[in-house]
């Protein structure tokens, strides 16, 4: 069972308290009704599913109930970092070589 650090509770808590909520940094358009078919497809259907670093959303379901973002390595399953929803996508990742 993984330990996940909730950036709001500022604590590492067991995976059981959390729920994955899909890929992060997929912005919903402010003018969604006017989006082209292609743009809507990209927004709603296309996900990166990388082998390696993934940016994803988690919710501290059985804790503070906040949604936050995490960077995880899909190969090792290790969480590299977590950060609050709305914060920019981190460019530099601790302990990850470019």
């Amino acid at each position: 069972m993984l330990l996940i650090r909730c950036p709001y509770c500022e604590e590492e808590r067991p995976e059981l308290e959390f729920r994955n909520a899909g890929e992060a940094h997929i912005a919903r358009s402010a003018n969604i009704a006017g989006e082209s078919d292609d743009d809507f497809e990209k927004f709603f259907f296309i996900r990166s599913n990388p082998k390696g670093i993934i940016y994803e959303r988690w919710r501290h379901m059985h804790g503070c109930a906040r949604f936050f973002n995490a960077v995880r390595d899909t190969i090792s399953d290790k969480f590299i970092m977590t950060y609050k929803a709305g914060e920019p996508k981190p460019v530099k990742l601790p302990g990850v070589a470019k």
Partner: protein, 997 residues
């Protein structure tokens, strides 16, 4: 004496404490502290099982958890029958009753042994080859036969009466394995004061010190030192010792799963003790001290009872005081078997001969054996064993061929060397490395905060082991935050050391392909099978493993993997590391379902949710149905009623007078804040800004893809406060959906969401008399149609308690939903019930609720919709705000396919024969005479008998349904095709006049 093979003066058990036990109905006597294996051996019993595939007679290979052969059933009572118990692990208690497995009619005469003769049929890959064709025979013939003939024990057929507990634990240093290395590491760590857990699978700590008679530490015999060290550790507050505890799985971030066998070794466990306890330990540092496992020699008929690992024979002698024979032979490729020969010889057992595959080995063990007068044969092989139910001889030949000699023996002790137990290290995702010199896989690259010490790390010799382990324990403690160590390292005064040994088949195992030289005893895999797999094209060890099933039995190849790998590598002509090692998977040894499940059984498996009105419904004799975790009153039968009679009566009564319905399970969410209306605009298709406080609206929630996600009536209590209802099953996901958007997409909105499902009990009062029933109990709310029209909400009091009183209807009748704080739910219900009785009202359940709403064409999300239905498909276009520029789903629902012609639309269906009730889920076709497979154009989503309409009614999703009004369609069923007519969705009171009736 308990058993003719018990040697007086040998072993550590007290002869005074005898224990009676039985095996296959025969009574025996053993000693407390025995395992079932040692007790049987003390009585001269070697034959304990039949093998999996060939039904060959089998005895004990080992004295520990790696045992592949000696699997028995332990029966405490009718429900407590545990199959596949390793007799080498099961501790003896007075009254223990064990049975052999996989034999019929008896262990000595087993009909299934014909498989041994017919063995060409069962060679490698036989499952895949023999039973391929015809396909149908697999299910009807092959599989049942194979399952009956092959197999291990029989699973218990009654519910498990035992209970199992679970603990979470945290520690600084977790030491896995309580032999010399583990104890030394635990001492070093514990002396610094950090929290230490030391776990070992045996009843007593000590590991191989149990048999290593040559070990001396701090001036005492090795095992005695271990017990003294354990006593010291036990006295420390910062140490937890877990004996009889197997670390079965090593997971991410130093999370280790262990099972403690709490009471399987007790004569009368008592109900207060769990059978097993699951430990889930999170450790800052883990020290792996899991030791090594001795390998057998691979030669012809090496599976005869009486042939065992040399270290096992030593354990039986030095710990249990049992001689495994009176005239033993030894077959080895390394030194450790010499120690066994020496110990047995000294105990008075005749050692017929040592056969050593090596050419001219030297060393103290060899010198000592020679000095004791034991015959030693270098450069020779045991090419076959004689005997059937018990080994009777070994045939010796120079390893490169030559004259044979047959030596009578009643046991053969063998050792091909030692395999480091890297299972847990490997499970931790560490990468093993092959040491070409010592021919073994040892820990290479670590993936987690752990360290391997001693034999599992490839460290030879007790001195080196203690040095390494003590240093590692101190370092682990330091890394976990300890200050400094205060203890002193144990001093090794004397030890034994073992050399390397061999991997793969010995000369007796081929290249002749007719002999059975077993690699994997439990799955009956021979050296020949592995070679055959390679000849048939398997290249990867993973393929060889699956083709032959080598290492796939419950012992997971603890003794067989390395031999199998070496034979495959040799046949492939490749070095071992290039062929690779199969993956080690959890569990290390089999784990019971009970220990994994723990207390989560029966009532504790899943919570049961009951409404405040539940006890009343129960007292009335309601029949309940499960809706998610909720128990809901389904219908209220009167004496003699079947379900249909009850539902018909309830439906008619509601429309004639009135009915009370417990709607408390409806999901309820309060949306509050200055931006509450803005938020509602974004989350629902409907417009909300202009909804006046005090009014209600039926809302539809979509997902971003434009499909209906949930629905419900929403009341606006104030400009900044909405009382939102959801479907019963949808409440948690709707709350999650709302929170998600509020927190991540619309965080600028000042809104607070609160689940209030369980805070409010909801009593629906529906029917022409509903107002008359409620009005006398209400204070502060004008109940007139002018003041409280359909789809409005007021706050006031009922029976003196606060209420949110909704005027709304899910039946098409004049109706109300009375919300009161849940604690008052039953009292208010009873007051309303008393009023209702004056008017002849009934209580109705969920079934009548479904019928009544279907008569009106009101949909149920999740029944009439399935996640691919748009508001338009459901005929709910009117509920989508046409002027809105944004809401969740606005873009999705305008996708080309979602606005295309011919989509399935929700319509009503009337069977041509009004008495016929369609089956929900039934498929609909346009032409019943077309060829099969027919083109299906839709399916029935809801279908009931409607007593109010005097006929059956149904809702269905039909392609282009609204353009088919009046068309005849067909529902093909097994007993004939049913004709139906496409109709509107409203079957009763089409004009909707009864809402104010």
């Amino acid at each position: 004496m308990s058993g003719a093979f018990r040697i007086s003066g040998a072993g550590r058990l007290s002869q005074a404490k005898t224990a009676r036990f039985s095996f296959d109905g025969q009574s025996y006597s053993g000693i407390e502290g025995d395992t079932l294996a040692s007790a049987l051996l003390a009585n001269g019993v070697h034959l304990v099982g039949r093998s999996f595939k060939y039904h060959r007679p089998r005895g004990f290979l080992s004295a520990g958890a790696e045992e592949p052969n000696a699997l028995v059933e332990i029966k405490r009572d009718a429900a407590r029958k545990t199959p596949n118990v390793r007799a080498t692990v099961q501790e003896l208690y007075d009254g223990l009753a064990a049975q052999s497995q996989n034999r019929w009619p008896s262990l000595a005469f087993d009909v299934g042994a014909v498989n041994d003769i017919a063995s060409p049929l069962f060679s490698a890959g036989f499952y895949y080859k023999t039973f391929m064709w015809p396909k149908a025979a697999w299910k009807s013939l092959y599989e049942p036969k194979i399952r009956a003939a092959a197999g291990l024990g029989v699973a218990p057929d009654q519910p498990d009466p035992d209970h199992y507990s679970a603990r979470f634990a945290h520690c600084d240093v977790l030491v896995l394995g309580g032999g010399a290395a583990g104890i030394a590491a635990a001492l070093a760590a514990a002396e610094t004061g950090v929290r230490v857990i030391l776990a070992d699978e045996q009843a007593e700590f000590g590991g191989s010190l149990r048999f290593e008679s040559g070990a001396k530490i701090d001036g005492r015999d090795g095992f005695a030192w271990a017990q003294a060290a354990i006593t010291r550790l036990k006295a420390m507050d910062n140490v937890r010792l877990l004996a009889r505890t197997t670390a079965f799985g090593y997971y991410a971030q130093n999370f280790v799963g262990l099972v403690e066998r709490v009471s399987d070794h007790l004569q009368n466990p008592g109900r207060e003790l769990p059978r097993e306890r699951l430990w889930q330990v999170r450790a800052k540092r883990v020290v792996l001290a899991t030791g090594a496992i001795e390998r057998h020699m691979v030669f012809a008929d090496n599976d005869r009872p009486g042939i065992m690992l040399a270290s096992a024979a030593r354990t039986y002698l030095n710990h249990y005081g049992v001689a495994v024979g009176r005239n033993v032979g030894v077959y080895t490729a390394n030194d450790s078997a010499y120690a066994a020969a020496i110990d047995l010889k000294k105990a008075g057992v005749n050692v017929a001969a040592i056969v050593d595959l090596r050419d001219n080995p030297t060393g103290p063990a060899i010198d000592e054996a020679r000095a004791l007068g034991i015959e030693i044969n270098f450069g020779r092989a045991v090419i076959r064993a004689g005997g059937k139910l018990r080994v009777s001889s070994m045939t010796v030949q120079p390893k490169n061929g030559g004259g044979e000699r047959t030596v009578p023996v009643d046991a053969i002790l063998m050792s091909a060397g030692w395999t480091p137990s890297v299972h847990l290290f490997s499970q931790s995702r560490g990468k093993v490395a092959f040491n070409d010199e010592t021919k073994r896989f040892v820990p290479g690259i670590y993936a987690q905060d752990c360290v391997s010490v001693g034999a599992c790390n490839g460290t030879d010799g007790l001195s080196a082991t203690i040095d390494e382990a003590y240093a590692a324990g101190a370092k682990a403690a330091k890394d976990a935050g300890a200050k400094a160590a205060k203890g002193t390292k144990p001093k090794v005064d004397a030890s034994e050391s073992w050399s390397r040994g061999m991997l793969g088949a010995a000369p007796g195992a081929g290249p002749d392909t007719t002999v059975k030289a077993f690699v994997d005893f439990q799955n009956d895999v021979t050296a020949k099978d592995i070679r055959q797999a390679v000849h048939e094209g398997m290249r990867s060890i993973e393929h060889v493993k699956r083709f032959t099933t080598n290492g796939m039995a419950t012992d997971q190849g603890k003794t067989s993997n390395m031999h199998g790998l070496a034979i495959a590598a040799e046949t492939l002509g490749k070095p071992i590391p290039q062929v690779g090692l199969t993956t080690f998977r959890a569990p290390y040894t089999p784990v019971t379902f009970g220990s994994i499940v723990g207390h989560a059984r029966g009532q504790l498996f899943d919570p049961t949710r009951k409404t405040a009105i539940h006890p009343w419904a129960e007292a009335q004799g309601a029949v309940f149905e499960d809706v998610g975790q909720w128990k809901r009153a389904w219908y209220f039968p009167k004496a003699g009623d079947d379900m249909h009679a009850a539902v018909d009566r309830e439906c008619v009564t509601v429309r004639k007078t009135a009915g009370l319905f417990d709607a408390s399970t409806l999901g309820k969410i309060e949306v509050v804040g200055p931006d509450a209306a803005k938020f509602m605009e974004l989350l629902y298709t409907n417009p909300w800004e202009k909804l006046e406080p005090g009014r209600c609206r039926y809302g539809i929630m979509l997902r971003e893809d434009g499909f209906i996600y949930d629905d419900g009536v929403v009341g606006r209590l104030a400009a900044d406060r909405f009382h939102v209802t959801t479907t019963t099953g949808g409440a948690p996901r709707v709350m999650n959906h709302m929170e998600d958007y509020l927190q991540t997409e619309f965080p600028h909105l000042n809104v607070w969401l609160t689940s209030i499902t369980e805070q409010w009990a909801v009593i629906a009062v529906q029917g022409p008399k509903s107002r008359d029933i409620i009005a006398p109990l209400v204070e502060g709310i004008d109940m007139s149609d002018e003041a409280l029209p359909h789809m409005s909400v007021r706050e006031g009091k009922i029976c003196g308690v606060p209420t949110r009183l909704f005027r709304m209807s899910f039946t098409g009748e004049r109706g109300f939903e009375v919300n009161v704080p849940a604690d008052y739910g039953q009292a208010v219900w009873e007051a309303l019930w008393a009023e209702g009785q004056k008017h002849g009202a009934c209580a109705y359940g969920t079934e009548a609720m479904h019928v009544l709403r279907a008569e009106k064409g009101y949909i149920i999300v999740g029944q009439d919709t399935d996640g691919t239905v748009t508001p338009n498909d459901a005929g709910l276009d009117w509920a989508v705000g046409k002027k809105k520029t944004d809401f969740v789903g606005i873009r999705g629902m305008s996708r080309t396919d979602l606005v295309a012609k011919g989509r399935k639309q929700l319509v009503g269906l009337k069977t041509k024969d009004p008495k016929v009730v369609l089956e929900e889920g039934a498929q609909i076709v346009g032409d019943p005479k077309q060829a099969i497979p027919m083109k299906m154009i839709g399916h029935v989503t809801s279908s009931y008998w409607s007593e109010n309409c005097g006929r059956s009614i149904a809702l269905a999703l039909v392609a282009g349904g609204r353009d088919r009004m009046g068309e005849t369609l067909y529902v093909p069923m097994p007993n004939g095709t049913i004709e139906v007519e496409v109709a509107g969705m409203v079957f009763f009171d089409e004009k909707g006049e009864r809402l104010n009736g």
